[in-house]
């Protein structure tokens, strides 16, 4: 019996919220915690990760019939490492200060489980259309997650958003939020909130069935 694989649109939508890599699958937490002190580095990380994810998903999907089961992880890693190196060099050439700011976190995209999991779950089993839709959906989910954490941290810790001062500089800010503990506090609170909303929606959806029973 063959398992029905989700359609491209389903893959796209699943990646944004129902299977959000950070809030639902708890994947890609290293960059989520490390580069979200401000929006600019967070969005650069999202762009680099999205580029790698889209390229890796497409390549893996195109060669999926040639993959040998026991060598597939090696092929995924080789593909991901290539595109991470291209992203890293491109940043160093065209956004040098940002490349210096992100430091080792761009090369660390190679070990981001979010990307290898998409190669394993989707692109090694489905065609390029579904693989591309999946990569874009998951990238948007990752964007949503990093943007939410970075927004909370930058506004509370710096009083700014994308470097634009939102509150007067005399206004007290929580410096802790732009320090490493602030990343855990912000992510933990937002994860709790996302889970609470998820449970509430599920409870509301099941209410009519319970009522009729």
């Amino acid at each position: 019996m063959s398992v029905r694989e989700p359609a491209p649109l389903e893959r796209f939508l699943n990646g944004i919220l129902p299977e959000n890599p950070v809030y639902r699958q708890l994947l890609g937490l290293c960059p989520t915690l490390a580069v979200t002190a401000a929006m600019k580095p967070a969005m650069t990380m999202v762009a680099a990760t999205a580029f790698v994810l889209i390229c890796a998903n497409l390549i893996t999907s195109l060669i999926r019939h040639l993959l040998k089961p026991h060598l597939r992880i090696l092929v995924f890693t080789l593909t991901i490492a290539t595109f991470v190196t291209i992203a890293d060099r491109t940043l160093a050439a065209f956004a040098y200060p940002m490349s210096k700011l992100l430091g080792p976190y761009v090369p660390l995209i190679i070990v981001n489980c979010m990307i290898i999991s998409r190669c394993e779950v989707c692109s090694s089993k489905q065609g390029p259309k579904a693989a591309l839709a999946d990569a874009i959906g998951v990238s948007l989910g990752f964007l949503l997650a990093l943007a939410s954490v970075a927004t909370v941290r930058e506004i509370l810790g710096n009083g700014s958003w994308f470097g634009i001062q939102l509150v007067p500089e005399s206004f007290p800010t929580l410096i802790l939020m732009i320090l490493p503990p602030g990343a855990f506090l912000a992510l933990g609170s937002l994860l709790g909130l996302a889970t609470w909303f998820g449970h509430r929606r599920a409870a509301r959806a099941s209410e009519p069935e319970t009522g009729s029973a």
């Binding site: 490390a34 060669i63 040639l66 993959l67 040998k68 060598l71 090696l74 092929v75 080789l78 593909t79 290539t82 190196t85 291209i86 060099r89 491109t90 160093a92 050439a93 065209f94 040098y96 210096k100 430091g103 080792p104 976190y105 090369p107 490493p180």
Partner: protein, 226 residues
């Protein structure tokens, strides 16, 4: 047929082909982007050299303009200052001679040194006085040490430990403040990052040794001329 399929090539051909294709792709990217990256690094070196020789306070908040070998520093208060930075030809490591104004008194030397750290290569700039007798400062151009541990080598409090240390003896690493206080050549290691701290000291020692030899050679060459 089965024998071919189960052979090394039969199993690994896809990986070998991908490695070849991806290798060629990376080579093309490198050829295309490396001149631009080198230019970015050169601009960063020129921007950081004044701070290494004049001290961080002298350039804090200052506007720095680079025009070829001439670097102009316009502080928020006080007179603007110009430095001439000349890269010494065919020197390894890269060595910069810095002097006041367009052809003024020599201010010092800055050399670029690199070696392996804990995670990857650490790329440093080491500033020296004009007589190479003292270290004026260090700056980390590139590193990929462990976040929150080894990457502390870029922090100004760690880098300031090197300022003013004489170069007549190699630097050593003290595991704690008490051990570091025993010698004027000892640098206190970063907590949890002794390997990174030791690597930085080793790079500084190697760079200073090479620069002192190179400059001494230059001086002898000049002395021998009629």
């Amino acid at each position: 047929m089965d024998r071919l399929r189960n052979s090394f090539l039969g199993q690994a051909w896809l990986i070998l082909v991908l490695a070849g294709v991806f290798g060629a792709l990376l080579a093309a990217v490198h050829l295309r982007l490396s001149p631009r990256i080198e230019e970015n690094i050169r601009a960063e070196i020129m921007r950081e050299i004044p701070g290494l020789l004049l001290g961080g306070e002298a350039v804090e908040g200052a506007s720095i303009t680079i025009e070829g070998e001439l670097v102009t520093i316009e502080p928020t208060s006080g007179e603007p200052r110009a430095l001439t930075i000349v890269e010494q030809p065919s020197s390894t490591p890269a060595l910069y001679r810095v002097s006041e104004g367009e052809s003024g008194a020599p201010l010092g030397w800055v050399a670029r040194g690199q070696d392996h750290g804990y995670a990857d290569v650490i790329d440093l700039l080491v500033g020296l006085t004009a007589d190479t007798a003292q270290i004026t400062g260090i700056y980390v151009l590139n590193q990929k040490e462990t976040p929150a541990l080894g990457d502390g080598i870029v922090r100004s409090d760690f880098r300031s430990l090197f300022v003013g240390i004489p170069t007549d003896s190699p630097l050593t690493v003290g595991r704690d403040a008490a051990e570091a206080a025993k010698s004027p050549y000892a640098i206190q290691a970063l907590t949890g990052a002794t390997v990174s701290s030791r690597s930085v000291c080793q790079i500084v020692n190697d760079t200073v040794a090479v620069v002192r030899n190179e400059i001494a050679g230059d001086v002898e060459d000049h002395d021998e001329r009629p």
